[in-house]
C-alpha cells in the first residue's frame, strides 16, 4: 500500500524527467545541443509567473476537470483498480479537454478539438479492445487480480495486443506523424490555443501524469520481471522519439487507417487465438 502511494507521488516527477529527456534526445537527434534536462520545470515556473488571463470560466472548469480525471486515472492505476474504470476516467479526461477547446469561439481551438476527437476515435476503440484481451486472458479486469501471483508475463499470451498497444502509444504521444490535434503549423496549439499562463500549465501537468501512465502499461505486460518491463518501456519511449523525429505529419484519415487497419486486426487475431487455444 505504501509502495502504491509512493508510486503515485513520484509519477509527476518521472513525467517531468521524461519531458526533459524528450526535448534533450530530440535535440540530439537533430544534431543540436538542446535545452537543459530541467527545462519543462522552468517552463512551468515561467507559466505560473505570467499574468492570469482567460477567455471564459467554462474553459477553466473544463481544464481543471481534465487534470482531475487524469490524476484519477493514475491514482486508480497504481491502486491496482479495475482496468475498465481506468479506461473510462482516461477517456473522460480527454473528453473534458475537447469540451474546453469547444467552449471558446476561436477557429483554431475548434479545429484542434475536432482533430482531438478524431484521435479519441482512433485510439480509444483499440485501447478498449486491448483491455478486453487482458480481461479474456486473465478472467478479470481487476489489475490486482491480473498482477497477483504471476509466474509468466502477460506478454507471452498477448504478444499481438502488446504490438497494438505500441501503436496506441505512438499516436497518443502527440508527436509526428500523429501530432494532428496540435499541429503547430496548421491549428497553432489545437485545443490548447486559447489558454495562457497557468491555465496552459494545467495541460503540461496533465502530460506529466499521462506519459508515465502509458509507459507503465508496458511494464504490466512484463510484470513478474519488473526490470525487463522498465527496459521495454524505456525502449518504447525512445522509439516513439525516433519515429517522431524522422517522419512528417499525416492526415487524420492516415491516423484512423493506422490504428484501425493494423491495430484492430492484431488484437482480433490475438483474441481469436486466446479463445481457440
Amino acid at each position: 500500500m505504501i509502495l502504491n502511494i509512493v508510486l503515485i507521488l513520484i509519477t509527476p516527477l518521472i513525467g517531468l524527467l521524461l519531458m526533459g529527456l524528450d526535448r534533450k534526445i530530440s535535440a540530439r537527434m537533430q544534431n543540436r545541443k538542446g535545452p537543459p534536462l530541467a527545462q519543462p520545470l522552468y517552463d512551468l515556473i515561467k507559466l505560473f509567473s505570467k499574468k492570469e488571463a482567460y477567455v471564459n470560466t467554462s474553459t477553466i472548469v473544463f481544464a481543471l476537470t481534465h487534470l482531475m480525471f487524469m490524476v484519477a486515472t493514475v491514482v486508480l492505476f497504481f491502486l491496482l483498480q479495475d482496468l475498465i474504470v481506468i479506461f473510462f476516467t482516461l477517456t473522460l479526461s480527454i473528453f473534458f479537454l475537447i469540451l474546453g477547446g469547444f467552449s471558446t469561439r476561436s477557429p483554431y481551438s475548434y479545429l484542434g478539438s475536432h482533430r482531438e476527437l478524431m484521435q479519441l476515435l482512433a485510439i480509444e476503440t483499440l485501447f478498449l479492445m486491448i483491455i478486453v484481451t487482458i480481461g479474456v486472458a486473465e478472467g478479470s479486469f481487476s489489475l490486482e487480480h491480473v498482477l497477483a501471483e504471476r509466474t509468466y508475463p502477460l506478454f507471452f499470451t498477448l504478444p499481438l495486443s502488446f504490438a497494438a498497444l505500441f501503436l496506441v502509444v505512438i499516436v497518443k504521444m502527440g508527436k509526428p506523424p500523429f501530432d494532428i490535434p496540435s499541429a503547430h503549423s496548421e491549428v497553432v496549439q489545437g485545443p490548447y490555443t486559447e489558454y495562457s499562463g497557468r491555465w496552459y500549465a494545467i495541460f503540461q501537468i496533465s502530460k506529466m501524469f499521462e506519459v508515465p501512465f502509458f509507459l507503465a502499461i508496458f511494464v504490466v505486460f512484463f510484470m513478474p520481471f519488473l526490470l525487463v518491463g522498465l527496459i521495454v518501456a524505456a525502449f518504447v519511449f525512445f522509439l516513439s522519439l525516433l519515429v517522431g523525429n524522422t517522419t512528417s505529419r499525416t492526415t487524420y484519415k492516415g491516423m484512423l487507417k493506422f490504428t484501425y487497419l493494423y491495430g484492430i486486426p492484431l488484437v482480433l487475431v490475438n483474441l481469436a487465438g486466446l479463445i481457440l487455444l
Binding site: 537543459p36 530541467a38 520545470l41 522552468y42 515561467k46 499574468k51 488571463a53 503547430h184 489558454y195 496552459y200
Partner: protein, 141 residues
C-alpha cells in the same frame, strides 16, 4: 529561484512587411548551427503563450492593426524586439506608399536589432538583452 525564473522565453515571430531576409536569419537561429533552444527559447507562434514579440519589417497599413492585436493578446510580462533595419527605421522601404509608421509609434519597443539583414549572431545578442529585461520585469511583477 530567481535563476530559474527567466529560463523559458517563448517567442512569437511576426513579419509586418519586410523582404523575408530577416525572417530567414531569425529562423536560422533555431537550426542546429545556432540552436537557441539550448536557452529554452521556443518559437510558439501563439500570442497567448509568447513572452517575446519579434517583429520584422516596416509596419504597413495592413499589418498595423494586426500588430496591435497581437501585442494586446500577449499576457504580461512581455518584451518587444524590432529585428532588422527596416523595422527599426524603415531602411530600404523608406518612402514606400504602403509603409505606414514605425513600430515604436504604435507599441513600446524594448530592443532594436540593426542590420539588413540582421545576422543570427546579432539577433541572438538582441534576444539575450530582451531576456535580461524580461527577467527584471518578472521579478517586478
Amino acid at each position: 529561484m530567481s535563476k530559474a525564473l527567466a529560463r523559458s522565453p517563448w517567442f512569437l515571430h511576426y513579419d509586418a512587411g519586410g523582404c523575408n531576409g530577416c525572417d530567414i536569419e531569425l529562423l536560422a537561429c533555431l537550426t542546429p548551427r545556432y540552436d537557441i533552444e539550448r536557452f529554452g527559447i521556443v518559437n510558439k507562434g501563439n500570442p497567448k503563450l509568447a513572452d517575446i514579440l519579434l517583429v520584422v519589417g516596416p509596419i504597413t497599413r495592413k499589418s498595423k492593426p494586426v500588430i496591435e492585436n497581437l501585442y494586446g493578446q500577449m499576457p504580461e510580462p512581455k518584451v518587444v524586439v524590432a529585428v532588422g533595419s527596416c523595422c527599426v527605421e524603415r531602411g530600404i522601404f523608406d518612402g514606400c506608399y504602403g509603409v505606414d509608421c514605425l513600430l515604436d509609434e504604435i507599441i513600446p519597443v524594448d530592443v532594436y536589432i540593426p542590420g539588413c539583414a540582421a545576422r543570427p549572431g546579432t539577433i541572438i545578442e538582441g534576444i539575450k538583452k530582451a531576456i535580461d529585461l524580461w527577467r527584471t520585469r518578472i521579478e517586478g511583477h
